[in-house]
């Protein structure tokens, strides 16, 4: 009997593995599976961490003694700029995204993330963007204006070399990866949880990642816009941040910190999610205050957006406005405190086992609480003024970021290592690594608080003897090297464990979450059948769950028609809604990312004629990607034995793609809102803002263009509404008509842009208007192309009454395009006309 079950399970494993495994050899580059992509993010991020760490060692070597000349001032500027850039953009965020990508589907009982090709595109964009930025270091032309690229220091006047361009283009490229991960994670968590996993039964880690993903959606676009504007200023002579012509360098600071402060929490939240996951496991009791923690996560996600000006306390903003941000900065201590007390209460009421991951969690609690205290000190405006731009701020930042992110990350690394490798690491070597890192870190940065209080400024390459900073700097440098040795020991431990580590038992920590119900090392498809969840701690309440999953006792236990399938469920209740069929291995993400990378390189080398074909090829591959969807033979062609309850997602009107589009439009809307903010900011606060009496844009043609767009969108929405009722006759004709009207609207808008006497190189006013018109054109043009493709797909029967999904995905894009057009018309045309002076 047992042998027969084992044989049946083995057969199921082989059938599932054939559908889910990636191609051999070079085919590995076409992999899109979340386990593979998540691990690639993690490994790549850790390599970048080593590079960033090496740069830190160079900085500490230079500062160890006074009056040293080991590195030149120019190189030192590159070192600290690249250290911050690498650690923040190429290590912290991508590594946590990678961990989330690896873990989330396994925790929610899914087989993959909901948009696997997007995961792969994100990874390649991250890798290529990172390599572009790193190449500048090798060429000795790295950015040197600080990781926050303040203007005017980063502007063409004071940074004429290509360093700033590498930063702006490379980071924007990397941010495509972050946004794609954000969209992917939000939709996956909300729409692909397994049967019965309602919001209140969701693992707490998923709440953290959901908040982080939303914060990426709303936090990154201001910096993407800022980077585009600064690059336009540097490369094309537009004016946004230069005072001559109506710009304002402070606009950059606002855009940067609108991203920069939430980013601290984007890094902290997933790390806190690791803490909230591990503490109950090592205390062997459920987390105390689950609801309180969820409250704290939501509050933190919002309040952290209201703190950006606390990085700008010294720039001359009225003191009452500073007080608003000071209060908001203190308010954020409340959700942090809630979490810390919940963690302590869980530890207090449990039987804590101080295994290696738990040691790192204790380290986190100590270091992060210290960082939090100095954070409250810095939220006080007078104290902030006193220590502004000193090493005190550097020390605080490292306590928060290393304490809040690095300690939990290493804890998580040790905790989930057996899940990846099937082996346990060395407890003894691991403890050595911890203590070396902990002691070294505190030696470096605790002392650095004192150096800062004694007045040592940041970003100086050397200092004179006799200022009282010598011993403190020497101790910090020694501490830095001890930290480095600690990192080396940890790496050695992890490397050795793959070969010498003891084979791990299944669920070696006796954890409560679903990822431990998968085989170890994990299979390509995660679960042989997708389990039904009845409680928040499934592995504690149903210890036989792994066996039952493997025996195929739950849903989707057999692959049908070689489709990769997972459940699609209701966002709140977790009730099943559809079967989501997922794309298999594809070269399209790699090809698309390669041509985007080529375009970036062409822009960097100012080979604009080559950048255009690279851009067109990238767009072409992305459109091909969109073509391989729905009922396309590569995706899910119509079968006679198709499931109807629940149906395949491409046969519904509300599949994950629509959710993905809406979330993407949230990010897009934030970018647009940042542009609006820039417009109003320069208008009201720009020191030399000037606007012509008569606006340069033709009023009536623009109005006519808007009228055409409105008709087009109304028509499209009507067609989609009919399709939702199952009426597809005349759909193709209607789509072509919408396409035609959209095209006329586009042509009119293009004429408005070309006919307007805009001089973007002469005034910030015209620069903003030009960007606004190009933004509208981009959206209208893309909507027209995508609608045309839909019309063709209707003709060849990939879309229709039986597969109505795709027009529903496109509808929010058209609605968004219409919305931003009229908002732009009101804000950029009507308001200045009424006010007189826009």
């Amino acid at each position: 009997m047992i042998e027969r079950i084992a044989e049946r399970n083995h057969g199921r494993h082989q059938r599932l593995d054939r559908v889910w495994s990636y191609k051999p050899g070079w085919g590995a580059f076409a992999a899109v599976n979340h386990t593979t992509i998540g691990l690639r993010f993690l490994v790549t991020g850790l390599i970048f961490f080593l590079v960033g760490g090496l740069l830190a060692m160079l900085i500490r070597t230079q500062l160890a003694l006074p009056n040293q000349n080991i590195v030149s001032p120019a190189l030192y500027n590159q070192l600290f700029t690249m250290h911050g850039t690498v650690m923040m953009f190429l290590f912290a965020i991508p590594v946590l995204e990678g961990a989330a990508m690896y873990l989330i589907p396994k925790m929610i009982g899914a087989r993959d993330l909901v948009f696997p090709r997007l995961s792969a595109l994100g990874y390649w964009c991250y890798l290529f963007g990172g390599l572009i930025i790193m190449s500048s270091l090798l060429l000795n032309i790295a950015p040197d204006a600080g990781w926050f690229m303040y203007t005017p220091l980063s502007s063409i006047e004071y940074s004429p070399g290509p360093g700033s361009d590498f930063w702006l283009i490379g980071i924007t490229f990397v941010e495509i990866s972050a946004i794609s991960a954000g969209v992917e994670l939000v939709v996956s968590i909300l729409r692909t949880r397994t049967k019965g996993m309602s919001l209140n039964r969701m693992p707490v880690f998923c709440w953290y990642i959901l908040a982080m993903a939303f914060m990426i959606i709303f936090g990154f676009p201001p910096l993407i816009l800022g980077s585009i504007l600064l690059e336009l200023e540097r490369a094309a002579g537009f004016i946004f941040f230069a005072v001559d012509g109506g710009g304002d360098p402070l606009l950059w600071q606002h855009l940067f910190w609108l991203f920069g402060h939430p980013e601290v929490y984007i890094i902290f939240l997933p790390a806190a999610g690791i803490v909230s996951t591990l503490i109950p496991v090592f205390a062997q009791r459920p987390l105390v205050g689950y609801r309180w923690i969820v409250l704290a996560i939501i509050v933190m996600g919002f309040i952290s957006f209201g703190l950006w000006v606390h990085h700008m306390f010294t720039v001359g903003i009225p003191s009452l406005a500073l007080a608003f941000f000071s209060v908001a900065s203190m308010l954020v201590a409340i959700p942090t405190g809630i979490q810390i007390f919940a963690w302590l209460a869980t530890l207090w009421s449990g039987h804590v086992k101080y295994s290696l991951p738990m040691l790192w969690i204790v380290g986190f609690l100590v270091v992060f609480v210290c960082g939090g205290f100095t954070g409250v000190m810095l939220a006080l405006v007078p104290f902030n003024w006193q220590v502004h731009d000193t090493h005190f701020v550097v020390a605080h930042m490292h306590y928060v970021l290393v304490g809040g992110m690095m300690f939990p990350l290493v804890a998580g690394l040790y905790y989930w290592l057996p899940h990846v490798s099937g082996r346990m690491s060395s407890e003894r070597l691991g403890r050595w690594g911890f203590w070396l890192f902990f002691i070294g870190f505190n030696l470096t940065f605790f002392i650095m608080h004192l150096t800062g209080l004694l007045g040592m400024p940041r970003r100086v390459y050397s200092y004179d003897a006799g200022l009282g900073w010598e011993w403190f700097n020497l101790i910090s440098s020694i501490g830095g090297f001890i930290t480095g040795i600690g990192v080396a020991v940890i790496i050695l431990d992890i490397a050795l464990h793959f070969r010498f580590g003891r084979k791990a038992d299944r669920n070696p920590w006796n954890a409560d979450t679903l990822e431990w119900a998968t085989p170890m090392p994990v299979t390509t498809y995660n679960f042989a059948s997708l389990p039904t969840i009845e409680t928040r701690t499934p592995m504690w309440d149903r210890p036989d769950l792994p066996e039952r999953i493997e025996n195929g006792e739950f849903g989707l236990d057999e692959p049908r028609h070689d489709l990769r399938e997972t459940w699609g469920s209701d966002a709140v209740t977790g009730e099943l809604k559809e079967i989501v069929h997922l794309p298999a291995n594809s070269w399209l993400p790699l090809l698309s990312a390669s041509f985007i990378a080529l375009m970036c390189i062409c822009l960097l080398t100012k080979s604009y004629l080559l950048a255009l074909p690279a851009c067109l090829l990238a767009v072409g591959y992305l459109l091909q990607w969109s073509w391989h969807n729905g009922a396309h033979p590569i995706a899910a062609p119509f079968y006679d034995d198709e499931p109807y309850s629940p149906p395949l997602h491409s046969r519904t009107c509300d599949g994950p793609g629509r959710w993905g589009m809406i979330i993407t439009m949230m990010a897009n809307g934030t970018l647009y809102a940042s542009l609006l903010f820039g417009w109003f900011y320069l208008w009201t606060a720009g020191p030399s803002w000037q606007a012509p009496d008569d606006g340069p844009i033709s009023f009536w043609p623009l109005l006519a263009s808007g009228g055409l767009l409105t008709i087009c969108v109304l028509l499209y929405r009507q067609l989609v509404a009919r399709l939702g009722r199952g009426e597809s006759n005349g759909l193709e004709r209607g789509l072509w008509l919408a396409c035609l009207i959209g095209l006329v609207h586009f042509a009119t808008l293009l004429w408005v842009l070309l006919a307007a006497p805009l001089q973007p190189t002469m005034s910030a006013h015209d620069s903003v208007l030009t960007v606004m018109l190009m933004y509208l054109l981009l959206h209208s043009g893309l909507a027209v192309i995508l609608t045309g493709l839909q019309a063709v797909r209707v003709r060849i029967r990939y879309v229709g009454a039986r597969a109505p999904y795709e027009p529903f995905v496109l509808r929010p894009f058209w609605s968004y395009t219409l919305g931003v057009f009229w908002i732009s018309f009101a804000a950029f045309i009507l308001l200045p006309m009424g006010w007189g002076g826009g």
Partner: protein
Amino acid sequence: MTFERLKPGHPAHLVLGLVIWSVWFVLLYGGLSVACELAPPGAEQGALNWLNATLLVLGVFFFVMLLAGAYMSWRHAPSAESDQPQQRFLGRVAAAVYLFAAIASLAIAVPSLVMPPCL
């Protein structure tokens, strides 16, 4: 989205309180900046001027509105004995979010009591 669909227990209430707080925060900071640009009260008036008074009144308005949201969410959350743990979860968390948003809305307006607006 109709108001009917936004009745207590809807998951949107998990964030609505803080969305309102965000709107108030932007209004507070943006409004202060624009007012100081267009019609700054005299420095000699200190904190006793039309701008600070407006900000305080608005702060109290948002506080009361969000407090009402907290009360509604709390009242409509099913009791612990009910067989709707999911609705209870949504209601209780939403009530706490509204309460926090109410306190935060008032807290950020409090400096207007003592500080001149445009210096």
